[in-house]
């Protein structure tokens, strides 16, 4: 599995209750890596510290890992629950040599299937989930089933309360539930033997 904690270093991402998005994504990546490793999965992360990683470099790391699944982790204060994104490239047949900017096209169908598995697991965990497709420069170059997971506050009440431990992004309980749901989905993905 490849876990890509978005942003990092000079790229702070968005601001989440005064905290940089890059810190949240790194914390989620580390937590998820631990959960996956505990389940016997081999995990490659694109960053383990607050460093700047180029988008192309992220795709290179994912492609070299020959991973069963690649998750790009983001966070936002807008909306609720989890937002899943799959590349908007039209599905294409695998080719011996793929164009760098559209390499994901051959994997889009499997990326959609992975998004479905993640959707089920997150819904099972009681989260609101939205699914969408869009252009994603790093993911569009990945040669693996790839999904962007953007975590938002659990609900409008949680976001507006501004207090910890009520489903906000800095609520450790909410973070743990998100990580558990993602880990369960990836375990199911691997168990089903989907490449």
């Amino acid at each position: 599995m490849v876990l890509d904690a978005a942003h990092g270093g000079d790229d702070f991402g968005g601001r989440l209750n005064g905290e940089a998005e890059k810190n949240f994504t790194l914390a989620l990546s580390v937590r998820l890596r631990s959960l996956l490793a505990a389940r016997g999965m081999q995990v490659v992360t694109t960053r383990e510290s607050d460093t700047t990683i180029d988008l192309n470099r992220r795709a290179e790391l994912a492609n070299h890992a020959n991973a069963q699944a690649c998750l790009s982790l983001h966070a936002t204060e807008s909306g609720f629950g989890a937002h899943l994104f799959v590349s908007s490239l039209a599905p294409a047949q695998p080719a011996r040599f793929a164009a760098w900017k559209t390499a994901q096209a051959a994997w889009v169908t499997r990326s959609l299937a992975l998004a479905g598995t993640l959707n089920s697991a997150l819904l099972h965990a009681g989260m609101t989930v939205s699914l969408a497709r869009t252009a994603l420069p790093a993911v569009d170059s990945m040669t693996c089933p790839a999904v962007v997971v953007e975590i938002a506050p659990e609900s409008a009440q949680a976001r507006d309360s501004g207090q910890q431990n009520q489903g906000t992004l800095d609520d450790p309980g909410y973070q743990a539930r998100v990580a558990e749901a993602l880990a369960a989905a990836l375990l199911e993905w691997r168990t089903e033997g989907r490449p």
């Binding site: 936002t76 807008s78 909306g79 937002h83 899943l84 908007s88 599905p91 939205s130 938002a152």
Partner: protein, 227 residues
């Protein structure tokens, strides 16, 4: 016999009276001219106000990640570029409202200009998997120039940024069907992302955000079809 100094004083006063009379007459003439000139510049006709027209806005909603079609009545200019700017201005005014479902500060002034030009090659643009391909007779590319302040204050996040971009594209296409492609500039310059996520370097297909026929009034492009 009148003393000499009385005669001189009389003459001086007489001359002063004549001079003041002339000066007053000239001042009166100037005031009159000023009055006439101001009357000339005053509008003699009421300014022509465009008739309100039905416009279709694709309004984003963060709660369910959808684009809802909203019909508004607006007075619109005839020039297509100004028309596009007015429609997008109304859309961003909705986002700047206190109770907006997709809150983005800035309002109508966030759209600096909208330029319309012939689309080069609609078929070869970076077409996503979703969205219908409209084929009007002379497709146009809309270049939307956003202000730096709008981009600086836009909430960060993949979904919220995509909703803003798609609602702009969909609103443009709904009101100017010949607009099939949309590009974005910020203060007249290319920019990589809107607020760290949504890609502003690509050409968006305006049809990306148009709900398919018979579908619920939500963003067809945002909804994933599982294979």
């Amino acid at each position: 016999m009148i003393p000499r100094y009385h005669a001189i004083l009389f003459i001086v006063l007489l001359v002063a009276s004549v001079v003041m009379g002339v000066a007053l007459w000239q001042l009166r003439e100037r005031a009159h001219q000023r009055l006439l000139s101001s009357q000339d510049s005053a509008p003699t006709q009421a300014p022509e106000v465009a008739q309100p027209e039905q416009t279709t806005l694709l309004v984003a909603n963060d709660a369910d990640s959808s684009l809802l079609t909203q019909v508004q009545s607006l007075p619109l200019p005839q020039d297509p570029g100004a028309r596009a700017r007015a429609v997008l201005g109304k859309l961003l005014d909705l986002y700047a409202a206190a109770d907006a479902a997709h809150p983005v500060p800035g309002g109508a002034s966030s759209i600096a200009q909208v330029f319309l030009m012939p689309a080069q090659n609609p078929e070869s643009s970076s077409a996503p998997a979703t969205g219908r391909q409209a084929k009007p007779s002379s497709p146009e590319l809309a270049v939307v120039n956003l202000t730096g302040s709008f981009v600086a204050t836009h909430p960060s996040g993949l979904e919220t940024e995509n909703l803003t971009v798609l609602s702009i594209c969909g609103t443009l296409h709904a009101n100017l069907p010949r607009v099939t492609q949309v590009r974005f500039l910020v203060d007249g310059q290319p920019r990589s992302t809107l607020a760290g996520h949504a890609d502003l370097t690509r050409t968006y297909l305006a049809t990306d955000a148009v709900p398919s026929e018979g579908a619920q009034p939500s963003s067809a492009a945002l909804r994933v079809q599982f294979h």
